[in-house]
Symmetry: C2
Subunit: 676 residues, 2 copies
């Protein structure tokens, strides 16, 4: 069995990542070491504590029931938290396989521990599978009669998708088919029950994930039934069918269970938008519902291509143009962990009416972006993917490798602290972070080899310090990139290929770059990119300035605020650096910034990671609260807002590095715009 389409396969992050080796002493080299040496161990400890590590032994039923009766583990939505356990261990296994497959991280001191744990879990999985291929542990151990009766809420397909991704990673890492064969059999079980035919149920996952995993499986097997099933899952979604009484599947399935046709929770105008089943994907013109579900769904759509690519691009654009936080976060609605039903509705805190920005949602947005880029190079898509990575995604973990965030609000309020947590009852985000960092090399660039023209094309998506090996029909080529990003705009490349070969290198000109220069001179490529040609053994370099940029929000957001950024990094003010200001203007709520504020950059080191902090040295304002009136008359002598100058600087740190140094955990990204 070999990957069916070598070119395509090379350029899926899940399969191309291990061609890239990161420079140890670089921004991401440092982070990858942290994840390989500390984060994976932290997460393993938590999986053991949580119970998911042993859950495939199917003996945890009693533990589950005891907990449930004790009232300590029952979620308000009635979904047992253990229902997500497969996905938790799946993503952890996937991450381990990626790190242990990578040259720069394979020799981590914990490697043996991870391997042993992974083998333990996989052994249990093999034994847990039922004769018909069925695998879900909750329904096997606790509720056997509930199988396949509630695809909308009960996550059988979602979990299977994550385990399938894990098994593909494990096969690539180990060469063993042990885990993979279990999952192929599990997929067959789904195919036996679900599909477009008359003798099948026409279900699809309430939480998309299996779709994209099946397409990854197809890239390995090349079996038509796998492509067909992935296509079916996307085509069936939200479609009303005659043989379902004119209903779409979740409504039909609900009636079969004897329930009210639709859930009435969560105050959604259309409850089916929660899981994007309100219409067929082709008919959806605005992105709605649970953010992670939406992005997982359109990642598969972008991957499948054709009309589904258009759907993915349209919905991605709606998300990015009208529903994205400045940090690259998505989802302003805690109620449904998702998108507002309204464009430009982006409250930044609980106090303003919501803000969720789940770490997983931005990881999922990176996944969609990468698939979109694969089919159509676009500076906007690249810039967004980079924005998510450096901010919303990286900010989901602390710099000690011990704590994680799930929600990522842009401002705290009241007793709230931005401090991260050790773990979560539903812990999707932490291992999702790990696998993303694990396959980072796959997000960095893509490489295509044209053997007949003896041309190697490399498209750089992200400026990082790493080396990629590219296999040629006879021999190999390497491209080494060294970059000061995200702090310095200098990047250089060393290309080395056998004589007779040439390179075509395409590099991004980010939206934040000033004075961008490249040697050799590049031709304008697709929007936001430049392309140059180079001999088989050659060098190139680029530079750009990274001025401090002040960002305003679209007026229809109603957020008349200013945000400080530099390069791909978005900044945040914490009480730790601004104790006095924050003490008198709680959570920076009364702090303002003028459009012509002046800034200085400073070097900063947090947990051994060096970075650039920014200080506003002028233009800092504070509201003068000389009136308690809720509504005050404005006239010549009384303006609507009264600001006073603040003597001290306002210090900002990178968003991802927030809440790493103690303090009260009071933070704010965007300050009110002060007119004077």
């Amino acid at each position: 069995m070999t990957w069916i389409d070598e070119t395509k396969t090379l350029n899926h992050p899940q399969t191309s990542f291990d061609s890239t080796t990161f420079e140890k002493d670089s921004f991401f080299g440092h982070l990858r070491s942290l994840y390989a040496e500390t984060v994976l161990q932290t997460q393993l400890d938590q999986l053991k504590k949580q119970g998911s590590y042993d859950a495939f032994d199917l003996k945890w039923r009693d533990v589950y029931n005891v907990r449930r009766l004790e009232g300590g583990k029952t979620r308000q939505d009635g979904i047992p938290p253990s229902l997500f356990w497969e996905s938790d261990v799946g993503k952890w296994i996937e991450a381990v396989c990626y790190f242990l497959s990578s040259e720069d991280t394979k020799d981590t001191p914990q490697a043996a521990t991870y391997k042993q744990a992974m083998d333990h879990i996989i052994d249990l999985i093999v034994k847990a599978q039922q004769d018909d291929g069925y695998l879900n542990i909750y329904f096997t151990a606790v509720d056997p009669t509930g199988k396949f009766r509630n695809l909308r809420d009960m996550h059988e397909m979602y979990n299977a998708g994550h385990l399938l991704e894990a098994s593909l990673a494990h096969y690539r890492y180990s060469g063993s088919r042990k885990f993979l064969d279990v999952m192929i059999k599990n997929v067959d079980c789904f195919i036996n029950h679900f599909g477009p035919n008359k003798d099948q149920k026409h279900g699809y996952p309430g939480h998309p994930e299996l779709e994209l995993a099946i397409l990854r499986l197809y890239a390995l097997t090349g079996e038509k039934k796998h492509l067909d099933f992935g296509t079916y899952l996307l085509e069936a979604r939200g479609v009303k069918r005659e043989d379902q009484g004119g209903m779409s599947y979740f409504e039909y399935e609900g009636r079969e269970r004897g329930l009210e046709p639709l859930p009435t929770t969560m105050d959604l105008k259309c409850p089916e938008t929660y899981n994007q089943s309100h219409a067929s994907l082709h008919e959806q013109d605005t992105i709605l519902g649970h953010s992670v579900r939406a992005f997982y769904l359109i990642t598969a759509a972008a991957d499948l291509g054709g009309k589904f690519y258009d759907d993915a691009h349209r919905l991605w654009t709606d998300a990015v143009d009208r529903k994205m936080y400045v940090t690259g976060g998505f989802g302003s609605e805690p109620r449904w962990e998702g998108f507002s039903e309204f464009p430009y509705h982006l409250p930044v805190s609980i106090k303003e009416g919501g803000c969720y920005a789940e770490t997983c949602a931005s990881i999922a947005a990176m996944m969609t972006s990468e698939r979109l880029l694969y089919r159509n190079l676009s500076g906007k898509v690249r810039d967004t993917m980079e924005l998510c990575l450096y901010n919303a995604v990286l900010g989901g973990g602390d710099l000690q490798g011990k704590a994680f965030s799930y929600e990522n609000r842009l401002a705290t309020w009241g007793d709230e602290s931005a401090k991260r947590a050790d773990w979560f009852e539903v812990c999707c985000c932490p291992p999702n972070l790990s696998r993303t960092l694990g396959m980072l090399g796959g997000y960095t660039w893509r490489a295509d080899v044209d053997s007949s023209a003896k041309k190697i094309s490399v498209i750089v998506y992200l400026y990082m310090s790493c080396t990629r090996v590219i296999d040629l029909p006879n021999g190999r080529a390497t491209i080494k990139m060294q970059s000061g990003m995200p702090w310095k705009g200098e990047t250089s490349w060393e290309m080395d290929a056998p004589e007779g070969w040439t390179w075509e290198i395409t590099v991004p000109k980010p939206n934040y770059a000033a004075n961008f220069q490249i040697k050799p001179a590049g031709q304008a490529g697709p929007e936001g990119f430049l392309t140059f040609s180079a001999g088989h053994s050659s060098r190139a370099s680029s530079t750009m300035d990274l001025p401090v940029r002040v960002l305003a929000s679209h007026p229809l957001t109603g957020q008349d605020t200013l945000t400080v950024s530099r390069g791909p990094i978005v900044y945040i003010a914490e009480d730790f650096d601004n104790d006095k200001i924050e003490a008198s203007h709680s959570h920076f709520e009364g702090v303002g910034l003028t459009e012509d504020a002046k800034f200085e950059t400073r070097e900063l080191d947090i947990q051994g990671q060096s970075m650039v902090a920014i200080a506003a040295t002028s233009g800092v304002r504070a509201l003068v609260d000389d009136s308690d009136e809720l509504y005050r008359e404005v006239n010549g002598s009384t303006p609507a807002r009264k600001w006073k100058s603040v003597d001290s600087e306002l210090v900002y740190v990178p968003w991802f590095a927030r809440a790493n140094r103690g303090g009260r955990g009071h933070v704010r990204v965007s300050m009110k715009r002060a007119c004077e």
Copy 2:
């Protein structure tokens, strides 16, 4: 049976209203005619259509069950809409009694129809009462085993309170004890079951109302048991008790029903705040939960006085200083029809994350304000009561007397229209409006007679055109007020009392008044009031300018908008007058106003009601949307917001008069503040 405390009684709106007669051809004279001749008839027709008109015949059970099975009448919260029917007919009867007791409206052509309908309902009520005094129709007809088992949600005490108020109004109007005796027996039934003693349950209403009604009953009967029961209801609320297993009543009651201890709906951080049962009233320092419940509760507290007055004043102040819309609306949260959990969180539309501003909430705020004023005269409290009346309350009905609003959002969005509805499944607001207009004279002013000093004290709360008769030990006095308000600042008084008597008149100096003058010269009274003395037969007059005022919101609301007001009237822009601007800036979302905008006033007539419209003749701006970017870089040449001048005027009409002339129903009260 006479009213126990003549002075106090005179100054409850429910019992003092009929001393005042409105001038037919005045602002409120016109409105009161509309309510007496059209609105009461409209509402009677709706009560018949709804089924509540006949519901006390207890034969509607089948109708109810059929509707329920058809799915057409089941609310999401599981509460049958018929559960509110007593309160609907109760408020309508109360309103009828007030209008038919008033000199200016008693001879309405529909008087006989109303009397007949009222007698019909009261006859049914008499027959519907059970032997033990129990009366609730739902539990009598549909669910007899459910009686008194769910005070939290099922409204037995709430309904009884409204019927009790109706019976007091009916007794005052008719002199017949028929209805009143039923309700006194019903109160005895409650007293038999509930109270502080060991052999009683310690319940209180989930929706406060009985508290304030009982205190009204006590004002008539003077019976200690009525005062004690009212006091008990306020004292018991939110208190954890040993004999309830350390729980407060609703938790205890829920466990008795075998349910989870607390409701988990509505996303409230503390679900018990929904009905203000999270703590004793003395311990509540911020106003939370369902707005109408909160204000009904603190109305009773203000009435009871002592420490409860302090509670009412503290919570009223929190509501008015931090949780009130500029229209005098309350409640930004549709989910719990109530207050935000956060101060200064006042989104003005659904698109911004919510806005409720239920008509009943502002009626209830008027009720609390009136009780606060009774104990401590305060310009702030008066100004707020007047703001609510002229805006949030009056705006709850149209000017044809045919349609009503329940929610009163300050801006529409998308497909939304500000058009009012014929009726509502739960129709608390329309008859609440009617009874408020019915007893309006009781809100206008208070009068106290000091027989020994032969002094008549009148405190004017509201400038209106009406005459009050004041009974004296031997004879009577009259005070006639003629006022151009709310459109013109001129008011005059003619006082006439027997020789030997003097007058002390206290009049408000509103917060919006400019150049306030009074003859004879007044002494400064309590904050916001002036007092003057006058001979037994004398005249006085006052004038004030009513300039157009531009109001800004407190900076911590995050609403950097400007609102146009004049006198007590808040203004709104509708597409009807501003077709072109609204067509290009949907719902006025992209329209701005500068702080130095210029205005002209215009006369306007809608449905025979003359009023003042306002046109902004300069300072109108529109956002230049030259970029689709969600986040845009700000620098010297690119400001955060780009405005262009708008050629046409922006026409505003009074908020209460909105949605009376057709059009798209696209409206907005507050425009974005444009800096340039």
